[in-house]
């Protein structure tokens, strides 16, 4: 191939080559190089992301045995509380079981139970609506009894030691002028129950 003879033609020729070259380079860069680089960069980002995800997952799996152990321990503790201290209804009534406990405590401590009146199921104090304690409610009774101050003290201590979740919210101990050794006890007692059963009444 010969170059044009005149300098002017040569200049035009080279200018044309320059323009075409620039266009070609632009097209190659814009629609060839950039997408390729972007694709590679996206792949690199995806790899970094997956590596991070995998690293996080592996770290979590390293902790998994310890977490599982904690979970088992806490679950066992909650199940123990639910089994031992959360009251179960007997034929739909909590009062029977509660009365049995009260009577046993009174018998062991020398307190005479005059009456055990069911107040019913009441809501527990909740931190918020989505509290973890929403699974529980309280079964409350009003107990009237009499006995010496020491007997009443022992009775309450026994009830409280038997169930650490048992609570007394209101109580009156009154002396009797004609019988100073005998005190009258009126106490509101509460036991935790599961928030599932619709309890029927049944006072005595």
């Amino acid at each position: 191939m010969k170059l044009p003879e005149s300098i002017k033609d040569r200049m035009v020729f080279f200018a044309l080559i320059g323009v075409v070259s620039i266009v070609v380079v632009f097209v190659v860069i814009q629609w060839g190089l950039f997408p390729l680089l972007a694709s590679k960069q996206a792949l690199e980002s995806a790899i970094v992301e997956r590596q991070d995800k995998l690293k996080k997952a592996k770290r979590e799996l390293d902790y998994a045995p310890g977490i599982q152990k904690d979970y088992d321990d806490v679950t066992a503790q909650i199940e123990k509380i639910e089994k031992e201290y959360v009251f179960r209804p007997i034929l739909g009534s909590y009062l029977v079981g509660v009365s049995e406990q009260i009577d046993a405590g009174a018998l062991a401590t020398g307190v005479r139970i005059e009456s055990t009146r069911e107040i019913g199921v009441v809501d527990i104090l909740l931190k918020s609506k989505d509290s973890s304690l929403k699974a529980f409610k309280l079964f409350a009774v009003q107990v009237s009894a009499s006995g010496s101050f020491q007997a009443i003290t022992r009775f309450l201590m026994q009830m409280e030691e038997r169930n650490p979740f048992f609570g007394i919210t209101d109580m009156t101990i009154s002396g009797q002028p004609d019988n100073p050794e005998e005190q009258l006890l009126s106490v509101r007692m509460e036991w935790p129950i599961e928030n599932v059963v619709n309890v029927k009444g049944g006072g005595r």
Partner: protein
């Protein structure tokens, strides 16, 4: 006189490297570099692809175990909340049997308690944490002689252990110390004990 013995198309540059040769070499070098870059890019890209596929396989293997672990962690968090709430609930109560048992150590022998009333109110503090606030009213009687001293001694008893860790304040309300309307020689009194709020935290 100038005699030109060579045709124009037979003229050659005196330079050992022609412009055209330089252009072709340059183009060749550029093409070679482009081809080499494409080769390196392709190799690198394939390597990344393989790495991504390898990570995907590893993730597919790890993900089920990870999901189980996360589920256990979340359930542990719920259980811990329940456990804490149960403990808070338990700790918010007051063991009244023990309180009454300790009463004997602070009541002077010359004082006779006639009435003890425990009442609970529910308190909710600013951060929505509920708590129990207990108030106890002690009504009693004592002989007129040294009656003030006896009542103050009883009152001071609430500043000592074990009551001091429960009782926030103990006081005689105005008019609560007076003559017994029945036994004129005796004095009757009423002491109010306000307990520290027991928050369910």
């Amino acid at each position: 006189m100038h005699i030109n013995l060579i045709y124009v198309d037979e003229q050659r540059s005196a330079s050992p490297v022609s412009l055209w040769l330089m252009a072709r070499v340059a183009m060749g070098v550029v093409l070679f570099l482009v081809a080499f870059w494409i080769f390196l890019f392709t190799v690198g890209y394939r390597s990344l692809k393989n790495q991504a596929e390898s990570l995907d396989r590893e993730w597919a293997h790890t993900e089920p175990k990870y999901k189980v672990a996360m589920q256990v962690r979340n359930e542990l968090s719920d259980r811990m909340d329940t456990m804490k709430a149960l403990q808070g609930w338990r700790d918010a109560r007051i063991a009244w049997g023990a309180q009454l048992d300790s009463l004997g150590s602070i009541v002077p022998a010359v004082i006779q308690l006639t009435d003890i009333r425990v009442s609970q109110t529910v308190l909710v503090v600013s951060n929505n944490i509920p708590g129990r606030v207990f108030e106890v009213k002690y009504s009693g009687r004592t002989g007129a002689a040294q009656s003030e001293v006896n009542v103050v001694q009883f009152l001071d008893g609430f500043k000592m252990k074990p009551f001091s860790q429960f009782v926030q304040s103990a006081f005689l309300p105005p008019g609560a110390f007076r003559q017994d309307p029945v036994m004129k020689s005796d004095r009757i009194f009423e002491i109010v004990c306000k307990y520290f709020p027991r928050m369910m935290e």
